[in-house]
């Protein structure tokens, strides 16, 4: 959501700040999140692990980077080829935000898979997850739009989000490695 808020700012120099800009941004985010949920759910059925979970975070952190690195030339190209700002902004949003948001959308269903241990509590786990992720979105929105934009450049904020996502990914992967190590040690001790 934090990145979504910045979307408006990124697009404005090329596509303006008309109402349809927000239409494009919200459409693309919703569309990619929906595919992300689907793919995340599917992915979670194939021997789920914390390492794979961490990789989703890490990859989404990487896929955010093109927004910083290539947004200008990409928008320039679209701007010169498409006169209508509605379809121009829609296409620009697709190119910039579709892929990273798909990966971010995968996180929720995968989290459900990792956290549900007991079928009876699955609804509760999903509820808590929705709570955490939607609350996080709300916080990301307000902090970005109220405060971050007042102190930092758009690109700096996106770098920060990217690094945060990658760090979370690394933490998850390391935790998994440690966990496996621990289990092996425990198993080793048990053997002796």
């Amino acid at each position: 959501m934090g990145i979504e808020m910045l979307g408006g700012r990124i697009l404005a120099p090329y596509f303006g700040s008309s109402v349809h800009i927000w239409g494009s941004i919200i459409t693309v985010f919703m569309l990619s999140l929906s595919f992300g949920y689907l793919l995340g759910g599917k992915f979670s059925t194939r021997s789920p692990s914390l390492t794979k979970y961490g990789s989703i975070f890490f990859i989404s952190g990487i896929t955010v980077l093109p927004i910083v690195l290539w947004a200008q030339p990409i928008m320039e190209l679209i701007f010169t080829h498409i006169e209508d700002t509605r379809y121009g902004s829609l296409l620009a949003c697709m190119v910039l935000f579709f892929i990273p948001t798909i990966f971010m959308g995968m996180i929720s269903p995968y989290s459900v898979r990792l956290l549900v241990k007991d079928k009876n509590k699955s609804g509760q786990v999903a509820g808590v997850l929705y709570f955490v992720s939607t609350l996080g979105s709300a916080l990301g929105t307000i902090i970005t739009s109220f405060y971050f934009v007042l102190h930092f450049e758009v690109n700096t904020i996106i770098y920060a989000y990217s690094i945060l996502l990658m760090l979370l990914g690394i933490v998850a992967i390391l935790a998994d490695k440690l966990n496996v190590q621990l289990k092996q040690d425990v198993a080793g001790v048990a053997h002796e």
Binding site: P13, S17, V19
Partner: protein
């Protein structure tokens, strides 16, 4: 004398606006609430709320030529910093279309292009404020930034660019950045003038000034203390001196008089930032990456 009487009438009319105003037209557009109000002989276009602060444009119904607003008069100081009568004019932000109508009357052969983001404003300007189009005057519903970018690609040039897209409530942040001002600069002809009508009395004032200076070098601030408006006048070359301006003012005096604009008086309202830089030296320039204009303008 006459002028004071007029000012007094306006002040009184605005003060008593709540009780005497008759709403002629009301609509909710995609961007704002639009209100057209008649206060006896005065007709005003208002955005959002019913206070005089948000008056966008006013005309006298019995004398539509006479400019009501202080800032519209101030905008004509633009003619003082160049020696060339404008042949092509770009107006970003239509309001009631007063500027377009007036400039057409002064320079009937000048090509005037009006850019307005809100189709409802264009409609209201035509219907209630006598805004008209002909073979010289056009209007286009588009975001100003996009128009400027496209015009830049087509290598178009304008002698006079008027940036009037800011109202007191909301500032389009992408029309205040260094990148945008550079795009506008590229559209100015050799003798071209950019005049921007701005409001800021807040923290934004310094940022806005620093940004203009970064792109254009020194510029003129035009204000006369009658309200918080200031007009920024920027050109592509060094600013003219006081004598040159005075000579030009005298030559234009008679032409502008019927519109209630006193060019000689206007020339004394211009302050060069070369002599009077009223913002801190290290102020951060607004860019497409950093432009929290609305947050600063509080």
């Amino acid at each position: 004398m006459n002028k004071w009487l007029v000012s007094l009438t306006i002040a009184l009319a605005l003060l008593s606006a709540q009780s005497f105003a008759k709403v002629v037209h009301k609509e909710r557009s995609m961007y704002r609430n639009i209100l057209v109000e008649d206060i006896e002989n005065l007709r005003c276009l208002k955005f959002n709320v019913k206070t005089s602060k948000t008056n966008q444009s006013c005309i006298y119904k019995n004398d539509p030529r006479y400019l009501v607003f202080n800032y519209t008069k101030l905008l004509f100081s633009s003619l003082l910093v160049t020696n060339k009568d404008p042949e092509s004019v770009l107006i970003i932000g239509l309001g009631g279309g007063t500027m377009s109508n007036t400039i057409h009357e002064i320079y009937p052969n000048a090509k005037i292009e009006n850019i307005e983001i809100d189709p409802a404003v264009v409609k209201v300007a035509r219907k209630y404020f006598g805004f008209f189009e002909n073979q010289h005057i056009t209007s286009k519903t588009q975001d100003g930034r996009i128009f400027v970018k496209r015009a830049g690609i087509k290598k178009e040039k304008y002698d006079w660019i008027i940036l009037d897209a800011f109202n007191g409530d909301y500032i389009p942040e992408h029309l205040l950045t260094k990148e945008f001002l550079e795009e506008v600069k590229a559209l100015l002809s050799e003798d071209g003038v950019l005049s921007a009508n701005t409001f800021s009395v807040s923290e934004l004032y310094a940022h806005e000034s620093a940004t203009y200076k970064a792109v254009y070098g020194d510029f003129f601030n035009v204000r006369n203390g009658r309200n918080t408006n200031r007009i920024i006048l920027a050109i592509n070359k060094p600013l003219p001196d006081g004598q040159t301006i005075m000579r030009r003012a005298k030559s234009l005096q008679a032409l502008l008089e019927p519109f209630g604009v006193n060019m000689v008086e206007l020339s004394s309202n211009m302050y060069s930032t070369a002599e009077d830089q009223d913002w801190p030296e290290n102020t951060k320039v607004l860019t497409d990456q950093f432009s929290p204009a609305n947050l600063l303008n509080q």
